[in-house]
Amino acid sequence: MEMINMTINGQAVQVPANYTILQAAESVGIRIPTLCYLKDVNAIGACRMCVVEVEKARSNPVACLQQVAEGMVVRTNTPALRNARKTTLELMLSNHRMDCLGCSRSTNCELQSLAQEYGCDNHKFEFGEPLKPDIDDSAIHLVRDNSKCILCRRCVAVCKHNQHCSVIGPNQRGFKTHIASAFEMDLDETACVNCGQCIAVCPTGALTEKDDTKKVWAALADPTKHVVVGPAPSVRVQLGEEFGMPIGTNVEGKMIAALRRLGFDRVFDVDNAADITIMEEGTEFIDRVKNGGKLPLITSCSPGWIKFCETYYPDFLENLSTCRSPQGMFGAMVKTYYAEKAGIDPKDIVVVSIMPCTAKKFEAARDELSTNGLRTIDVSLTTRELGKMIREAGIKFTELPDETCDPFLGMASGAGHIFGATGGVMEAALRTVYEILEGKPLENLDIHAVRGTDAIKEATVHVAGMDVNVAVTSGLENASKLLDMVRSGEKNYHFIEVMACPGGCVNGGGQPHQPGYVRNFTDLRAVRAAGLYGEDANMELRKSHENPEVKELYETFLGAPGSHKAHELLHTHYQVRPMYRD
């Protein structure tokens, strides 16, 4: 790698020639404030927070875009620069509904913390009327309040580039510019796939998930309701971030303890349902291979991906696994199997899922997922919403003991846990499919070719005398590329895993916010996934089909994987969705 020598704030530095000033400064421990820039997402130089002085330059460049050069002399911290950044912030604040006291992003808001760092005069340029809320809450998964938007366009970029949806963008111009959909349509009317990536990247409180905690508090307070909860695989390696713990810390035991203390009657694990998913999907795959069914089989765990497929790639609907997602299976099993075992009328059961995801809110409301006329998931909360409930309940999370889930639907294998990272479903499925087809144990359970954060990962696995070609992708832009190659015949696979969010659920739209200055220099996807793979590696039980609770479920209730009953309760169907409404 070509290196160059430069000076930053008087300090001699050697950095790779393709670095930006932002990266170069970071490498010597200097943080340059950023707002619009977000690694892998947005690099448009719009906010002007990161201006720096470069000797002999005609004007002050922005550090997020300006590449370094040999002999460059940079200053990041002069009075003039600090003053300029302060003014930039004060201008933003002059057009911001400063509602910090009740704002869900308070203490975790990039604008707020910079305003505090720079000692801003919040009202310096406030000449007009105070702003009123400017809200679009039409969609089921999120709320946009443009009175808190700083027009950094991170949401626009992630939706357009990383998620290939482009349902939001800047409308009008100049001071009237605001983020909205074409023709000022409500978000609900667009082909938004509910992935929530826009929320995940938003530096302020302008985008938040739709808060469903009130429904849960109400259920918990209702003595006639039996309230059951299950967290998704990735939640346990993220919830700790809500309480200031290091990224990727596995807090499974504390999470379960916290859920109990919140008053849930049963704490189950959606990872158990992930194991069930593997049983069903593995069986479906073997069936399709053996009986000439539609291939490639594509996973169906990610509701963001499912809606994307229904809307943008409807010609692949038959390739989708008919398996419900783990959330869907979890809800169905609670309201049938568990209800039966526990002797509780399913009408009195409230099922709450804790998800990394905002698309799960949409999924939970799908009619085709109801069982016997009942919604199977009553409320789907994000990891962030759970964090909020725990704080509100006064539970000292970091001091909680480790606890384990309740029986019936509470035990999970390592395969179930790794669902949360891209490649996890594939790896889990291969472990089971291999053993079923070969009839002997798989020697090395770690299938590294499908791990990691590469855009598209491929592997060929030899199973039962056959070469099985698999591909794994995450992020809908990558998924589109992969599907285009499949469609054109350029690629031939038997089995494909798609996760809507880049990196999978560990980077889901409902996960704790990490500010730009963390995201720009830490690969959240990798660090969080490492937590899941670590848990899997340390387990005895690492294969879904060996999970004793899952075995019992099949033996005493469902019959065999793929049985009629399993189909009725664990599978679903899809519909073509128009990209534009009339």
């Binding site: 130089g45 719009a46 004007s59 003014t87 933003m92 027009l151 800047p170 111009r173 100049g174 001071f175």
Partner: protein
């Protein structure tokens, strides 16, 4: 100006583009023209058709093996699309918004390919220069600013229209000799050059030769070649406000300094012209101007404060009169002036009273009339009506 070239001599531009394409090895050229100039568009289309017919555009031009063709792209008339990167973004089919530089268009331009981008007037000079030689072109103009420049002369001037002058000509020559001076015997006050983001030049620089360096030095610029002359009936604060109002409206809204900063500037100016200005506002105004210039993403924002800065520099007394004395010296800012009938001049003809739309004027025939300032809406109808010049703005 560019429009008149496109309408009058589109072939000059096509020829120059083919030459430029040949020089840099490009095979494709685009002309970006506002859809609001239908005649220019129509004539360009005809000219491109003719050029193709004569083999001046297309495949294997003059048997040289060089291919070059030109497409027209219509713009929706956003001012910011005059900024080169915004123009490129617009041609690509996106919202017309500037991009950060670097990368410069010469490295990564249209569709991320190396691109040269020039203005119509520049291109129209090329064939002439190639035919008559660089010495011919350099024989006009000054040491650092060669050739000629077309200005669109307008405002308080007798002869309005396009004027082409060798660079180095003085403003006095342009305004008094070519432009025929200021109408109605009024006094020259300033001239705004370079369009809405240029600066104003006061009388003390009337004898300064106009070239790029001099204009920049005195806080104005060549820009689009606009030249708006004002006389002593113009309020310079209001004048700056007028231009800023335009740029605020035309800001693309991408970067913070321009999107919010220019709007706050405008609000400060409104406050001052409304008579609500406070002493610290002048400092705030100046500080904000320099901040926007240094921090905005593109030239639109970086130059938007120029009218304010140049008027603050040359006509600070007018700003101060608005802020400290709540007075508009030119009698333009409505909140800071009122109409008065001078009793010694008024003949009591009643013409004004009959004309006033709100009945603010009272008085009996042959007696001096008076205006009720509380009723008056400052429409100015009376002043126009009075044959004895008895009514004055104060």
């Amino acid at each position: 100006m560019d429009r008149s070239v496109l309408e009058g001599d589109p072939h000059a531009v096509l020829e120059a583009m083919a030459i430029a394409g040949y020089a840099i090895g490009a095979s494709k050229g685009y002309i970006y023209v506002r859809a609001e100039y239908p005649i220019a568009v129509e004539r360009l289309k005809i000219a491109i058709g003719q050029a193709r017919e004569y083999g001046l555009l297309g495949e294997d031009i003059f048997g040289t093996g060089f291919n070059f063709d030109i497409d027209i792209r219509l713009g929706a008339g956003a001012f910011v699309c005059g900024e080169e990167t915004a123009l490129l973004t617009s041609i690509e089919g996106n919202r017309g918004e500037p991009r950060n530089k670097p990368p410069f268009p010469a490295n990564k331009g249209l569709f991320q390919k190396p691109t040269i981008i020039n203005n119509v007037e520049t291109l129209a000079n090329i064939p002439q220069i190639i035919m008559k030689g660089a010495d011919w072109f350099s024989s006009m103009g000054t040491e650092d600013s060669k050739g000629t420049k077309v200005f669109a002369l307008g405002g308080a001037i007798n002869n309005t229209g396009l004027v082409e002058i060798p660079l180095g000509t003085t403003l006095r020559h342009i305004i008094y000799d070519i432009g025929g001076g200021i109408p109605n015997g009024r006094k020259f006050k300033a001239v705004q050059t370079g369009g809405p983001s240029g600066g104003c030049i006061p009388a003390q620089f009337l004898d300064t030769p106009i070239d790029y360096a001099n204009l920049t030095r005195i806080g104005a610029m060549m820009g689009s070649g606009g030249m708006i002359v004002t006389d002593d009936s113009t309020c310079m604060v209001d004048f700056a406000r007028f231009f800023l109002d335009f740029t605020v409206d035309e800001s693309c809204g991408k970067c913070t300094p321009c999107r919010i900063g220019t709007r706050r500037l405008l609000e400060l100016l409104n406050k001052i012209t409304d008579g609500r200005g406070e002493p610290e506002d002048l400092d705030k105004l100046e500080e904000l101007c320099y901040y926007i210039k240094a921090n905005a993403l593109c030239a639109l924002g970086q130059t938007a404060p120029n009218p304010v800065l140049s008027t603050l520099k040359y006509f600070r007394d007018e700003y101060e009169a608005h802020v400290y004395e709540k007075r508009c010296p030119a009698g333009v800012c409505k909140n800071l002036m009122h109409y008065e009938i001078q009793p010694d001049v008024c003949r009591g003809c009643t013409a004004c009273a009959r004309k006033c739309p709100v009945g603010a004027i009272s008085g009996t025939v042959k007696q001096p009339h008076t205006i009720d300032v509380n009723k008056c809406i400052k429409c100015g109808a009376c002043i126009e009506t009075c044959r004895f010049n008895a009514i004055v703005k104060k």
